[in-house]
């Protein structure tokens, strides 16, 4: 089974764990061999792995709660952004670098747009928009710094953090290739459906938002 499939299993398992549950079983290899997922986090592998996972998971939970809890929509958007970065961090710890990069590019990009929408459309009052900017900036800066630190550590010493359970050929090929490979073969069907969804969404967006239709006809 491909490396990507294994990663997905682990990634989902990780997310499941982050939600506060205890993943009892997970097919981390994707080959029918059920490993105790907690074994993957046990000290004899690496205590660091546990710590990093706990950090990412807890920040994800906290920021996700902040998204709905904050009264200021700008803070909500920012919390969402921080959350996406940490989800991307989880992907990195699972050796899904490509997914992590895509996650940041797609979601952070989208969040930026959402942020602008909030500021422009929701008529957030000027003082609400900018107060306590410094605190947020420092907090975010620290988080991003930590992120960069973790990422740079990953780059050089990935096998210290997490020893891949299976060394497969796709590991050598890199996960971008293996994702591409399964996307266009094993998961071709959902992929094609997704393209149809985009078509519907495109036409729907035009119908719902085209300007100049509601004015009375002259």
């Amino acid at each position: 089974m491909s490396y990507t499939k294994r990663q997905r299993g682990v990634a989902l398992n990780g997310l499941w764990g982050s939600a506060g549950g205890f993943a009892s079983k997970a097919d981390v290899h994707g080959d029918g061999n059920y490993l105790d997922a907690l074994e993957w986090l046990t000290p004899n592998r690496s205590i660091m792995a546990q710590l990093v996972f706990c950090y990412f998971a807890s920040v994800i939970v906290i920021t996700a709660a902040l998204v709905v809890a904050s009264r200021n929509p700008v803070y909500s958007a920012l919390s969402l952004l921080v959350m996406f970065f940490h989800v991307a961090g989880l992907y990195v710890t699972l050796h899904a670098e490509f997914l992590a990069a895509i996650h940041i590019i797609v979601y952070a990009g989208a969040i930026l747009v959402l942020y602008l929408f909030v500021v422009m459309l929701l008529n957030v009052k000027r003082e609400e928009r900018f107060h306590r900017q410094a605190t947020v900036a420092v907090l975010l800066g620290l988080v991003l710094l930590g992120e960069a630190f973790v990422l740079s550590l990953q780059k050089g010493t990935q096998h210290v953090f997490f020893t891949p359970a299976v060394q497969s050929d796709t590991m050598v090929a890199g996960n971008t290739e293996s994702i591409g490979e399964v996307l266009y073969s094993a998961y071709l069907f959902p992929f094609e459906i997704a393209s149809l969804i985009l078509l519907v969404a495109m036409i729907g967006a035009v119908i719902l938002s085209k300007k100049g239709l509601l004015e009375p006809k002259s």
Partner: protein
């Protein structure tokens, strides 16, 4: 292990109905954009032609027994899938036919309406074939996307926009539940394919996962307690969209529910049977009691739809092959009676511009045809012999008796009486009250066609149900070996 994609011609044949409809859709969009002269009626007839062509292909599949699976069980084409695809396409053809009058009153984007209807249809056809949880998610979202836009189609109508927003928010919430449930099931079992999940042993995570998936699909079928979006959305949406929403997505979601619970979770039957018993009793009772208070015919049909879904869940509560046969047959009877009733509502509201039940007063004087057909459809929905609804309900109750679900049966019978009451209020208004405005109503030809098809279906299924029952029985042959009476359900609800 490397993946290879070896699709042969005979594999692609299984996808022929979907591919045909997709190409037809693209043709429609191109024609709509490039030919200024093409009217929306012609586009509608072109779309109906495409649906009928796809129907012919599917009937050919059904007669020659062409079945198979593709993409490692992600796409399953068996008799059950074919049944539901034919069901969905029939509903689509009738809805498109009854839309023509309403689309004429739209101020913009007339052609795109049919495109979106067909796109949703395509999504629901894929739903009927979904054989693993990933394709369940993608196809459910696909079909719902079209509906998000269709519900909010009347942009200058506040009600429609509000309905669209409510539907969208709750729909997205349901999608979130679905995705989370699927991730839990995958985390626990390591597979997404129904037939592989069947071989795994249960765990708490898996239970929570499937409960979440059930909740998300409960939103789609509008079962209590996941029904909150239904009344407002049904009232605000353009009436043909309401008609479509009230039948086709429910059918497709029921197909997924049957497949998921009968294939993937067959060994956990004693547990999920209780879930469906509760859902069925709640939906029937809540829908019927709240329907009594309704003043708007679309809201009345919305609540009646919630109650009808309660009836459908009786079949799943039985959890036997007979139960699934009964569901399939009942959905057929519901298709004709419900779409017929909505066609009458469309016809009336098109002229009197109102959906209030009060305005149906004296409908018999104004249009005996519409009043008589409405009477027939409402009686079928209530389950009066010799109409289709009676046989459908009888079949479901027999399936429940077979499993000794007497409590469920008693609730079902009480609910028939309650539903009779509010259906007959409408009948009384139509036949006994004096009309406020006695001018006669005229019905357009496409709408008349839909009403006639509804009448024909309701009478035919009621008087000569045998071929349709045989069809339903043969569509679920793969469930013949599902476990027999359940000890747990029998002892708790045995009466």
């Amino acid at each position: 292990m490397t993946f290879d994609l070896a699709l042969t011609g005979s594999d692609l044949l299984l996808l022929l109905p979907e591919i045909l409809l997709t190409l037809w859709l693209c043709l429609m969009v191109c024609l709509d954009f490039s030919m200024r002269k093409i009217t929306h009626q012609n586009l509608a007839y072109l779309g109906i032609g495409g649906v009928l062509a796809t129907l012919v292909v599917l009937i050919w599949f059904d007669l020659t027994g062409i079945t198979g699976t593709l993409f490692k069980n992600m796409f399953v084409l068996d008799r059950l899938a074919i049944f539901f695809k034919i069901f969905i396409l029939l509903a689509t053809a009738l809805v498109m036919c009854s839309s023509i009058d309403s689309v004429r009153t739209f101020r913009f984007f007339k052609g795109e309406y049919y495109f979106l209807v067909l796109m949703s249809t395509l999504g629901m056809m894929f739903m009927a074939s979904a054989g693993d949880l990933l394709s369940v998610f993608v196809t459910v979202e696909f079909s719902t996307f079209g509906f998000y836009v269709l519900v909010a189609y009347l942009r200058d109508d506040l009600r429609s926009s509000e309905a669209g927003l409510k539907f969208f928010i709750l729909g997205v919430f349901a999608a979130g539940l679905l995705a989370y449930g699927i991730s839990l099931v995958y985390g626990e079992t390591g597979t997404l394919i129904f037939s592989d999940i069947a071989g795994t042993s249960g765990s708490y995570g898996m239970t929570i996962g499937f409960l979440l998936i059930f909740a998300a699909l409960g939103f789609k079928i509008g079962a209590v307690p996941f029904h909150s979006w239904i009344p407002d959305t049904y009232q605000g949406a353009p009436t043909p969209v309401t008609a479509f929403l009230s039948i086709a997505p429910k059918g497709a979601a029921i197909a997924i529910l049957i497949r998921m619970f009968y294939v993937a979770l067959a060994s956990f039957k004693p547990m999920w049977v209780l879930l469906f018993i509760a859902g069925s009793i709640l939906s029937m009772t809540y829908g019927n009691i709240v329907a009594i208070a309704q003043k708007n015919i679309k809201r009345l049909l919305a609540y009646s739809g919630i109650a009808q879904i309660g009836n459908v869940l009786i079949g799943l509560a039985a959890g036997t092959k007979q139960g699934s046969d009964a569901i399939l047959f009942y959905l057929l009877t519901y298709l004709f009676a419900n779409l017929g009733a909505f066609a009458v509502v469309i016809g009336v509201s098109h002229i009197i511009k109102s959906d209030e039940i009060e305005d149906y007063s004296g409908l018999n004087r104004r249009s005996p045809f519409l009043a008589a057909s409405m009477l027939l459809f409402l009686l079928s929905l209530a389950g009066v012999p010799p109409l289709a609804g009676f046989i459908g309900k009888l079949y479901l109750f027999v399936a429940a008796i077979d499993q000794e679900l007497y409590t469920l049966l008693i609730f079902g019978l009480i609910n028939i009486i309650i539903s009779m009451y509010y259906y007959l209020i409408v009948v009384k208004k139509m036949y006994i009250n004096e009309p406020l405005d006695p001018s006669p109503l005229t019905v357009s030809i496409p709408l008349k066609t839909v009403v006639y098809v509804g009448i024909a279906g309701t009478l035919l299924l009621g008087i000569y149900p045998k071929p349709f029952i045989d069809w339903a029985v043969s569509a679920t042959l793969m469930f013949s070996n599902i476990a027999g009476p359940t000890a747990a359900a029998g002892s708790i609800f045995g009466g």
